[in-house]
């Protein structure tokens, strides 16, 4: 099996002399192809920093990251942009849809930017729209649809370019429980059927229970790791809750 993410000794320090705060300390992370990995931890633990670094939106102070065989630390801005466009799919808590584009235009945006030919583009748009059940709203604008629909649109956009890695930052954070479950089920299907590799940062133990493996971060370091293995989702959910209570501080918003 292929290694998708290989991060070694990631360190992120904020601030200047005298007033230094380190957000991440020597994090090692490996994600294999087809894995669905969750990252949990209390507020301020460094989850989002780690995700941003993997997303190439932020840079590590030191450390080395290889994603799908490409070394991120050696690329310039232009190459990083192309990398994000071709290799990564994003899913954010606040959807990050463009309000000036219709649902369909939002979905196909990565392909349009990559200048894919129109036939292939239309075919893939239909394919993902069916997968997420948003065919009916393709011609609507983001301000005309619900939060759940927005997040499914965002998910469609994230996978349309068949990225090597999907990064999700609290994707269920702004959704009601029904919509959240729908989205998580879709991600699970994506992971199981299409062998998509997903890395998801979340606060929510319920969301984390959909993962194959969950990493817990505290104070910028890896605290522990849980693997689902043969357990049922319910059992795994309880395990996650146990670790969270052991982790303490900041994780008290768990159900």
């Amino acid at each position: 099996m292929k290694t998708i993410v290989e991060a070694k000794q990631i360190k992120k320090v904020y601030g200047a002399k005298g007033n230094v705060f380190s957000a991440l300390e020597d994090i090692d992370l490996t994600v294999m192809e087809g894995e669905f990995v969750g990252i949990m931890g209390p507020s301020g633990a460094g989850k989002s920093t780690l995700l941003n670094i993997l997303a190439t939106i932020d840079e590590p102070t030191t450390g080395n990251i290889v994603v799908d065989g490409i070394n991120l630390t050696k690329m310039n801005e232009e190459q990083l942009s192309a990398f994000r466009r071709d290799k990564l799919g994003f899913l954010f808590q606040d959807y990050n849809l463009l309000d000036t584009l219709t649902v369909k235009e939002n979905i196909i945006l990565p392909l349009a930017l990559a200048k894919l030919n129109i036939k292939e583009l239309e075919r893939r748009a239909d394919e993902v729209a069916d997968k997420f059940g948003i065919r009916d709203i393709l011609n609507k604008y983001p301000y005309q649809i619900s939060g759940g629909q927005k997040q499914r649109t965002a998910a469609s956009r994230a996978i349309i370019s068949k990225p090597s890695l999907i990064l999700a930052d609290e994707p269920t954070g702004a959704l009601d429980s029904k919509s959240a479950t729908d989205l998580l089920e879709s991600l699970k299907d994506l992971n199981e059927q299409d062998k998509a590799t997903i890395l998801m940062v979340t606060h929510d133990a319920y969301a984390a229970s959909y993962c194959n493996r969950v990493l817990f971060i505290k104070d910028g370091k890896i605290f522990t790791e849980l693997v689902k293995g043969k357990r049922s989702r319910k059992e795994f959910f309880n395990k996650v809750l146990d670790v969270l209570s052991a982790l303490g501080g900041g994780a008290n918003d768990v159900i």
Partner: protein, 651 residues
């Protein structure tokens, strides 16, 4: 209940207002700059108006105070509108802040007073800065004006108290008005409205084919009305009706053009999917489409203002530009006078000869016979008395003036010199004849030619007839000719001193001056003032329209920060984002400017038809100059906008 001590409340209010200004510096800065800019412009203008030096150096123009007065009123109107616009813009951005104060428990009255003082204090500070900057600038502008007029007066500007008083009065009224508006803000809106002021999302505009079609139709109609040739009967009523309708149609048509036609065209460009879904075009088109409704009114105002400015600049600049040509037409020779005996003539001659810096190139006598005559057709020009000159005199004079027109006539033929300030063509006289009436009988002469070179200064009625040498000699026997002495000197445009002396000695032989220099200088000064005033106003309009687009784009940039952040996350490089911003800004600046230029070209075509003295003058150079000048300044604003926009969203 807590009733704060009056003095204490004053203090806290004042410090709160001060903190506001510090915290919201960017918003305040833009508004403040607008205030200062308007004040500087207004003060500069009024101080020029009142400056003695300027008044003195215009010896000959009496239109000056009128022109300055009218312009001053236009300027007040404009400045007031500009400040009110930017004030409402500024207030809109602060509604939420005001709502927050109300939520935090400040009494309405307190908030209202705070806004009132804040605006008042800001206005007064701006006024002081504006007057100081204006004093410096007025010196610069005065030097430009004097340079344009070609005077050599040295510029030494004191501070004009009259100008300061006038500026203070005008702006205090405006500032008080906006302050009262600020005071009323909290009473005018419900709390909820204040909070959601900025949240009102713009929606995708619907395509209205009907209004797009009406827009295009109105534009076509107005262009047609403007461009159609003058009717035979030309009345004020026609003028008002035709052009009144044309300009209303132009106004509404322009608005509909921006509101509907552009939407329609953008929508159409979205239809072609393989083009639309390629690269960043999808982002640009959709953003422009979303913003167009909000921009339509601004675009209309900008397009119309810039076309008006280009028109004024073009028309006045062509006057300035063509002054020499016009002066040469009105006063062809450097000096001309009626012969009043050998003693007088030689006196004049010696004055002209004494001027060694302007040596005589040509000197001749032009005998003219004044007779009564009847045309064989109706001409709406009073021809009597007709001035006769002989063929050989005309040819010699035309030659001395470097004109390549010659006349050759057989005994009974006649040629007419086109009366100045008219547009009669050869065809008017073709096949017709003129009957010269003399006490001893009349002679009928057919017109065979029309020439355009005048040889004597303008005097109404300006109807010269060139006749054959034999005919001239024959008539001269019965009617004694008058003799005009004319001189052409080198470098006549600088012959100030000699012209003064000649004018004094010669007196008024003609309706216009008898020396070219005087006519030239008079025209130059008059034109320089109009050019200066319109140039100044043009500059103000230009700066104002440029700033309006600039401010609008910056506000938009602040709102669009999130938009571009998303794009970067999806993988659009900074370079591509920058390109996309450039394209959008080009559209926003280019569209109203293009429409404005188009309008102004059409209107200038009308103007050049209307003002007959512009006919025959090459209008292309001055108009192109005005347009190029306009485009360059807009380009500067464009670069400025792109840079700032880029800095805001693409850091």
């Amino acid at each position: 209940m807590f009733y704060p001590h009056w003095g204490v409340e004053q203090m806290t209010l004042f410090s709160l207002a001060r903190k506001n200004i510090k915290g919201n510096f960017n918003n305040y800065f833009v508004y403040f700059v607008t205030l200062v800019f308007s004040m500087v412009i207004y003060y500069t203008f009024t101080s020029l108006q009142y400056s003695e030096k300027i008044q003195e150096s215009i010896e000959l123009s009496d239109t000056m105070s009128f022109m300055f007065g009218v312009s001053s009123i236009i300027l007040i109107l404009f400045v007031a509108i500009f400040i009110l616009y930017s004030n409402s813009f500024f207030t809109r951005k602060r509604k939420k802040e005001v709502g927050l104060y109300a939520i935090l428990g400040l009494r309405k009255k307190t908030i209202a007073k705070m806004l009132f003082y804040e605006n008042l204090v800001m206005g007064i500070i701006a006024l002081v800065i504006g007057i100081i900057l204006g004093t410096l600038l007025s010196k610069l502008f005065a030097m430009i004006l004097i340079k344009l007029m070609g005077s050599t007066a040295d510029v030494d500007f004191g501070i004009s108290f009259l100008a300061i008083t006038q500026t203070v009065i005008v702006f205090m009224v405006i500032i008080l008005f906006t302050s009262v508006q600020g005071y009323r803000l909290i009473y005018r809106f419900k709390l909820i409205e204040l909070f959601y002021a900025e949240k009102k999302g713009e929606q995708i505009p619907k395509v209205s084919l009907i209004s797009a079609v009406i827009g295009v139709l109105l534009l076509v109609v107005s262009y047609w009305l403007i461009l159609k040739p003058f009717p035979d009967e030309f009345t004020t009523e026609y003028l008002m009706k035709n052009y009144g309708i044309a300009f209303v149609a132009l106004f509404i048509g322009t608005h509909l053009f921006f509101r509907s036609v552009t939407v329609y065209l953008l929508r159409l460009s979205q239809r072609n999917k393989s083009r639309y879904y390629r690269g960043t075009r999808i982002i640009e088109t959709s953003r422009l489409l979303f913003r167009i409704r909000g921009n339509a009114r601004t675009f209309t105002v900008i397009a119309l203002l810039s076309s008006a400015t280009i028109c004024f600049l073009g028309a006045t600049y062509s006057g300035y530009y063509s002054n020499e040509k016009r002066a040469e037409e009105v006063v062809p020779f450097s000096y001309s006078h009626l012969s009043k005996g050998p003693e007088f003539d030689s006196q004049v001659e010696s004055i002209i000869k004494a001027d060694h810096r302007h040596p005589i190139k040509a000197q001749l006598d032009i005998p003219v016979i004044q007779v009564k005559a009847i045309l064989s057709f109706q001409l709406d020009y009073d021809i009597n008395p007709v001035q006769l000159i002989s063929e050989s005199t005309f040819n010699k004079a035309a030659n001395a003036l470097n004109k390549d027109e010659t006349v050759s006539l057989s005994r009974n033929q006649a040629a007419v010199i086109q009366p100045r300030f008219t547009e009669y063509t050869k065809s008017v006289f073709k096949g017709e004849n003129i009957t010269i009436q003399l006490p001893q009988g009349s002679s009928k002469l057919p017109f065979v030619h029309m020439v355009e070179s005048n040889v004597l200064p303008f005097d109404y009625p300006d109807f010269f007839l060139v006749v054959s040498n034999e005919m001239f000699a024959e008539i001269a026997k019965k009617e004694a000719p008058l003799t005009y002495k004319v001189y052409e000197v080198e470098n006549e445009v600088t012959a100030q001193a000699t012209s003064k002396k000649v004018n004094k000695l010669v007196g008024n032989d003609f309706q216009v001056s008898s020396s070219f220099y005087t006519e030239y200088k008079q025209g130059k000064e008059g034109n320089a003032i109009t050019l200066f005033i319109f140039g100044f106003l043009g500059l103000v309009f230009l700066a104002a329209t440029g700033s309006v687009i600039y401010f609008k784009q910056l506000t938009e940039a602040n709102e669009a920060k999130g938009h571009y952040e998303i794009l970067r996350k999806i993988g659009v490089s900074r370079k591509d984002i920058c390109k996309s911003i450039k394209k959008q800004s080009l559209f926003v600046f280019g569209l109203p400017l293009t429409v404005g230029i188009l309008h102004s070209c059409v209107t200038l075509y009308f103007t050049s038809n209307f003002m007959s003295n512009l006919i025959g003058i090459n209008l292309i150079v001055p108009i192109l100059t005005a347009i190029v000048f306009f485009v360059i300044i807009y380009a500067v604003y464009y670069v400025l906008t792109v840079n700032t926009y880029n800095r805001i969203v693409n850091k």
